[in-house]
């Protein structure tokens, strides 16, 4: 993965830049010693690391604005950062960039149950947003598996999803407004307690823009009343195809589960060995969860089980109580951990049309043989968002590169069948150079035109999302203008 060479003129001015930043921030909010900036050298895509010029941790929108104004004047690139859990390298710095972390900004500004919203500073973690409204039995719906650690800032930047988005949507469907600082320090407000935009839907573009259009400091989020209850059913099938058909039939029948999770044999085996959840050994396993009152749950599960039976399941296990529900989820929730135990792995995130599931799984199996690397599949089947985990050995020369090549082939396959490169993790640096596989030059031009408007000098997180060759002329102009 290539990153542009750092701008020597910025490196040479480090002391001056750091001094100016210290002037506008409280003591201890500017980190410039190499021993300390190392904490910001990577995100959860740990194969790529580079300490930044310095890191700043402002405490308010005003401080963020002051920082950006200085960086704008100095022509210094800025990489916004939430909790650094991006799997795409979205928060990876370059040596000439300032990391702007919002971790200190984690307050709840307002909870409003009558209007079903919460306003928070974006450094707040995803889970603690739900935590803040739990006493009134409300919750914030998007629930990435990383929710204990990841921040709303990163969720907005990546338009993150979660296990329950089949019913509740992803971040963009639950985001009502933001306070955002543009690269030149201008503070803007988009949306709020009302729905829909007065003019162009700029909020819709901000969500998922990977920290390239502005730094989001505050957010208004939709909160929902918790359902009365929820319960999963586990079903095992003799073939991936059959499980795929079952998913499609459930959806067509008008039942709207909150989650449909899929695991294939390699994944089941690893999870079973790790978590001993008592999963049946079969080719494909589905966990389907529904919500409502006891009677509503029973009615929906009855329909789902009836559909499943038409596909000759090798196992059907309905949770009768919370304990059994917990056991059904246990294996799935520990899938990544289980994989981490046995191997290094790379987690992919392509989406495919649900109907292509059997074909794609078959092709991944064939490619796995060709590349000589094992793959385990675990994913959100209801919406076709796959998470193939490629297992490799990071200590073995050349394996990371081999794994990346294999990953790229899988993602291209996703695009080929009518899907996309990333369903919830974002492009970052990881899929940046694959964007040509999904978009024609005019499509990328149109997206880059949006960045031109919000960040004309291309200083915000500039080396991400767009293939370096596509964005080169713009990034060059930025350096020349300085």
């Amino acid at each position: 993965m290539k990153m542009p060479a750092p701008n020597a003129s910025i490196l040479a001015r480090k002391d001056q830049i750091v001094a100016r930043l210290r002037e506008v921030l409280p003591e201890g909010s500017v980190i410039s010693e190499l021993s300390e900036t190392r904490a910001y050298e990577c995100d959860a895509l740990t194969a790529y690391r580079c300490p930044p010029l310095c890191a700043v941790l402002p405490s308010s929108t005003e401080e963020v604005s002051a920082v950006l104004k200085i960086c704008f004047e100095e022509g210094v690139p800025v990489v916004p950062r939430g909790s650094g859990t991006s799997l795409a390298g979205g928060a990876l710095p370059t040596a000439d960039s300032v990391i702007l972390g919002v971790a200190k900004m984690n307050s709840v500004l307002e909870t409003d149950y009558a209007n079903r919203l919460i306003r928070v500073q974006t450094g707040r973690t995803n889970l603690s947003v739900s935590g803040a409204v739990a006493e009134e039995d409300f919750f914030y719906a998007p629930d990435p598996s990383s929710q204990l650690a990841c921040a709303i800032a990163g969720n907005i930047a990546m338009n993150s999803g979660g296990a329950h988005c089949l019913k509740y949507g992803v971040t963009t469907n639950n985001l009502m407004g933001v306070t955002m600082v543009l690269m030149d320090g201008t503070v803007i407000e988009l949306g709020g307690a009302h729905l829909d935009a007065p003019g162009l839907d700029l909020l819709g573009v901000i969500c998922g823009s990977e920290g390239q259009l502005g730094v989001v400091t505050e957010a208004t989020l939709r909160i929902l009343r918790k359902p009365e209850g929820a319960r999963p059913v586990l079903m095992g099938f003799a073939a991936n195809e059959v499980a795929g058909e079952c998913v499609s039939d459930i959806i067509k029948a008008g039942v709207l589960p909150v989650a449909i999770e899929f695991m294939d044999r390699p994944c089941i085996e690893a999870c079973e060995a790790f978590a001993h959840a008592g999963y049946p050994m079969c080719e494909a396993l589905l966990i389907v969860e529904v919500e409502g009152s006891e009677a509503e749950i029973a009615e929906q599960l009855e329909k789902i089980i009836e559909i499943a039976k038409r596909h000759n399941p090798v196992e059907l296990r309905e949770a009768r109580d919370a304990d059994e529900a917990g056991r059904i989820w246990l294996g799935r929730k520990s899938a990544f951990g289980a994989m981490g135990q046995i191997n290094d792995y790379m987690c992919l995130d392509g989406t495919i049309p649900v109907s292509s599931l059997p074909h794609v799984l078959r092709r991944i199996g064939e490619m796995s043989e060709e590349f000589g690397l094992k793959v385990a599949n675990v994913f959100h089947a209801g919406d076709g968002n796959m998470h193939p985990l490629i297992l490799f050995n990071a200590n073995q020369e050349g394996q990371l590169e081999l794994c990346e090549r294999f990953g790229a082939e899988i993602l291209k396959l996703c695009v080929e069948v009518g899907g996309c490169l990333t369903g919830e993790h974002g492009v970052g640096i990881e899929k940046r150079d694959l964007m040509h596989a999904q978009y024609r030059p005019a499509d990328l031009e149109a997206q880059m035109a949006v960045k031109d408007v919000f960040d004309p000098h291309w200083l915000l997180n500039p080396a991400k999302v767009f293939p370096l060759d596509a964005s080169e002329s713009r990034r060059r102009l930025a350096i020349a203008a300085e």
Binding site: P198, L200, G423
Partner: protein
């Protein structure tokens, strides 16, 4: 001009010498009064429909009726409840998918399921320089690059002319019911709607008709579940006079009336649409001194009938939200002006996507 393919459309836009007035089905009245008419109704056809994946792709000029018929055959629907505003606006024609997306047209279910923009998975469009752009796709989860899909929804043809759109569709529910609360004041009604929407009973419509003093709450789903939730919901309002309706046709007709703003139809005056914080709605409505009102989205959407030429924004003063004039021709702009830095961004985008200023110029500025 009525091009019949994306190519022809691109050529028509490239060849434009002045303002183009874009029209889908011509059912909405917001639009330019001058300029060369460019119609999208020639670019039609459902290109892909996979009921098992809940996705439908169609060319932008496809009439809504055609899409609804296709969905109906599989017992599915567009979940955002497309308003039919012909009665309100006094227009004719037949809605097209592109027009619906360009207006982000969304009905009562917006409060629960989302707006048109939330169900829109992908777009193809021709921008003002004749460039064909595609963004998003046909899968439900997609964060690959910037979300121009949302940007195009509600852009009223000022950034590009849509040629193809893809949607997430949903199964039709087995049953539906309305709980009606009678005789509430506007503040009581908004509070009641907040209580209903803040309950675990999945309310998919919350509207108040102050003329009839009726507060309407809708529930949808499997029959037994609807019956259960209807009972639970009624129990939230002890001491209130209530009635309920479970006849499918009656429920559908009632909510079509909310969706299409029936109480304001056939009356003289300007129609304004105010998007606000739901709990602010009664106070804002009082400031409006409207001749007729309808509250939807639990109060978050207020439809108001005002004397011709009234500037609703002047009456409202500063408030959190926005007001759009959907019928009438006062001197105030139809769209709510954005604050200066946001307006500058919007203008920047229009310049980028439509450098010659030919697509519905001035409509949203």
């Amino acid at each position: 001009m009525t091009p019949t393919s994306e190519n022809d459309l691109a050529e028509a836009i490239l060849g434009a010498r002045g303002a183009l007035r874009l029209r889908g089905g011509g059912t909405r009245s917001i639009g330019l009064s001058e300029g060369t008419l460019l119609e999208t109704g020639g670019i039609t056809g459902v290109t892909l429909y996979e009921p098992g994946a809940l996705t439908l792709v169609a060319r932008a000029g496809t009439p809504l009726a055609e899409v609804e018929a296709a969905l109906d055959a599989e017992n599915q629907r567009l979940a955002f409840e497309v308003p039919d505003l012909r009665g309100l606006l006094g227009t004719q024609g037949a809605s097209t998918l592109g027009g619906i997306v360009a207006a982000n047209a969304s009905g009562p279910r917006r409060i629960a399921s989302g707006a048109c923009r939330d169900f829109l998975l992908g777009v193809r469009f021709v921008d003002g320089a004749g460039r064909v752009v595609s963004n998003g796709g046909r899968v439900m989860k997609n964060v690959t690059g910037y979300d121009l899909v949302k940007l195009m929804a509600g852009s009223h043809g000022t950034l590009g002319v849509l040629t193809e759109v893809s949607f997430k569709v949903l199964p039709k529910p087995e049953a539906a019911a309305t709980l009606v609360l009678h005789g509430l004041t506007e503040s009581e009604a908004v509070a009641a709607m907040a209580a209903a929407l803040g309950s675990p009973y999945d309310v998919t419509g919350a509207a108040h008709d102050p003329g009839a003093r009726q507060t309407l709450l809708r529930i949808e789903g499997f029959a037994r579940s609807v019956a259960y939730r209807l009972g639970q919901l009624r129990a939230l309002f002890p001491g209130r006079e209530t009635s309920e309706d479970t006849d499918p046709d009656a429920v559908a007709a009632l909510w079509a009336g909310v969706r299409d703003v029936a109480p304001l139809q056939g009356r003289v005056g300007d129609v304004w649409r105010i998007s606000c914080k739901p709990s602010d709605a009664p106070e804002l409505a009082a400031r409006l001194r409207a001749e007729a009102l309808l509250y939807d989205w639990g109060g978050g959407l207020v439809w108001a009938l005002l004397p011709e030429g009234t500037d609703a924004r002047a009456r409202l003063g500063t408030f959190a939200g926005h007001a759009t004039r959907v019928r009438g021709t006062g001197s105030a702009p139809a769209f709510h002006p954005d604050p200066a830095p946001v307006a500058a961004l919007a203008e920047g985008l229009r310049r980028r996507f439509d450098p010659r200023g030919v697509l519905n110029p001035g409509l949203m500025a």
